[in-house]
């Protein structure tokens, strides 16, 4: 396929370059951590991104430098990414579709007389 050869800004095709083959990589990266940040008291911690660090202390320190350079946070959680259990997109149907036809769970389902404003 020729799909990859168009040269866009920031996407330089590899075949124009005469590169040498890269050394193979074999798992020397530090573990990956997910970073959650509370922007101020009263708000929940929210996923900010991820980073690599050797241990939890370094993950916190790196998260401070990478994700809170502009006072974005006052509290940081980090968790090693491998400990997160997540749903798969293929399970979306069985997990979330049962909620679709239960519109009576929303207040807008009920049409009440005008006199009972603000209920």
């Amino acid at each position: 396929m020729n799909l990859l050869r168009k040269y866009y800004y920031g996407d330089i095709p590899e075949d124009k370059t005469g590169a040498v083959p890269p050394a193979s990589a074999s798992g020397h990266d530090w573990p990956l951590w997910e970073v959650f940040i509370r922007s101020k008291n009263g708000l929940e911690h929210k996923h900010a991104g991820s980073l690599h660090a050797a241990d939890a202390k370094m993950a916190i320190e790196n998260a401070r430098d990478v994700y809170t350079r502009r006072m974005e946070g006052i509290s940081i959680w980090v968790v090693e990414s491998k400990y997160i259990t997540a749903t798969n997109p293929e399970e979306a149907g069985e997990l979330y579709e049962p909620a679709v036809d239960k519109i009576y769970r929303h207040p807008t389902f009920y049409e009440l007389p005008d006199e009972v404003n603000h209920m």
């Binding site: 168009k6 040269y7 866009y8 330089i12 370059t17 890269p22 020397h28 990266d29 241990d55 990478v66």
Partner: protein, 309 residues
């Protein structure tokens, strides 16, 4: 049951402006294009720290030094957001860095030009970051979720980069004759390379616009370049300087500025590795990586030891 073509299903999501997330099904070429583009973007941020790093110890005042330090630190951060986004597509950080060091992966050619005077720092902020912002604002709406989110964060921070650059040039433009000459000289040297950042003219690319169809990109090189020229041609009036292009002229009919021909030979030479600083930049990256190896190893050994003791 009708047969559903996964590629068509994918295209329908794109057409309906549904973002693609890491675990979603995606065509292999979509994954590869994004990995290549996001990692190149990350490499550009990291290599982009080098030309400016050259002036941190030479900044003309403590204020400018603090600003420049903050900007270069941002660029390191931007590189990290982007590497993380690319990793969600299944390529390891180590592979990406190896590809940069081997020359397989590219970075923006603009960083292969030298920073000869203090005014270059202003010109980089105003012109180079200004050009990058054109691309990055578009990419906040790119179809791959993690890339789009990284771009939102980056764009918020990048606006300071461009403003501080213009601010530094403004001071020079109101200074002595020497300072004004230095300002004009930096603009003269950075203008054409900044225009080259947008890549070849649209007519040069004969292949299908797959990146547009997948909404990885939403504007063409020429469109972005024209927007940039229109913006800069107005802003430079405030500086009382001029752009080094005798053909630059407002075209009332097009409602855009016309401009002269870019030196595409130079562009391809720099892309192929023959720019003024290609070797120096890659050598600096490799050196940093190699000299940091013992730190990377020591940190992981220390972490293991603490876990078991």
């Amino acid at each position: 049951m009708p047969v559903v073509d996964p590629d068509q299903l994918f295209q329908d999501k794109i057409d309906n402006e549904i973002k693609i997330e890491p675990k979603d099904q995606m065509p292999d070429a979509y994954r590869k294009t994004n990995i290549r583009q996001i990692s190149q973007h990350a490499h550009s941020e990291i290599v982009g720290m080098l030309p400016e790093g050259n002036w941190i110890s030479r900044a003309p005042s403590l204020k400018r030094k603090a600003i420049l330090l903050a900007k270069v630190q941002d660029e390191g951060g931007h590189g990290l957001y982007l590497y993380s986004a690319a990793e969600t597509l299944g390529m390891s950080r180590e592979e990406m860095i190896n590809d940069l060091h081997s020359g397989k992966a590219k970075y923006s050619s603009i960083f292969n030009y030298p920073t000869l005077s203090w005014a270059d720092i202003g010109a980089i902020g105003w012109l180079v970051d200004g050009a990058a912002i054109m691309n990055q604002v578009m990419l906040t709406r790119t179809s791959y979720g993690p890339y789009a989110r990284a771009m939102v964060r980056i764009c918020k921070e990048e606006s300071f980069h461009q403003r501080q650059g213009f601010d530094a040039l403004l001071v020079l433009s109101r200074g002595t004759k020497e300072q004004r000459d230095m300002c004009q000289d930096a603009i003269n040297r950075w203008w054409w390379p900044a225009l080259m950042m947008f890549g070849p003219r649209d007519t040069e690319s004969t292949n299908s616009d797959q990146s547009m169809k997948w909404k990885i990109k939403r504007k063409s090189n020429d469109e972005l370049r024209q927007n940039f020229i229109d913006m800069i041609a107005e802003q430079i009036k405030t500086l009382g300087m001029h752009l080094p292009d005798p053909d630059l002229k407002w075209n009332e009919e097009r409602k855009h500025y016309d401009f002269g021909e870019i030196n595409w030979d130079e562009f391809w030479q720099v892309v192929k590795g023959n720019g003024p600083c290609n070797k120096q930049r890659l050598d600096a990256r490799r050196k940093a990586w190699e000299e940091g190896e013992w730190v990377r190893e020591a940190a992981i050994e220390y972490a293991k030891k603490r876990l078991t003791s």
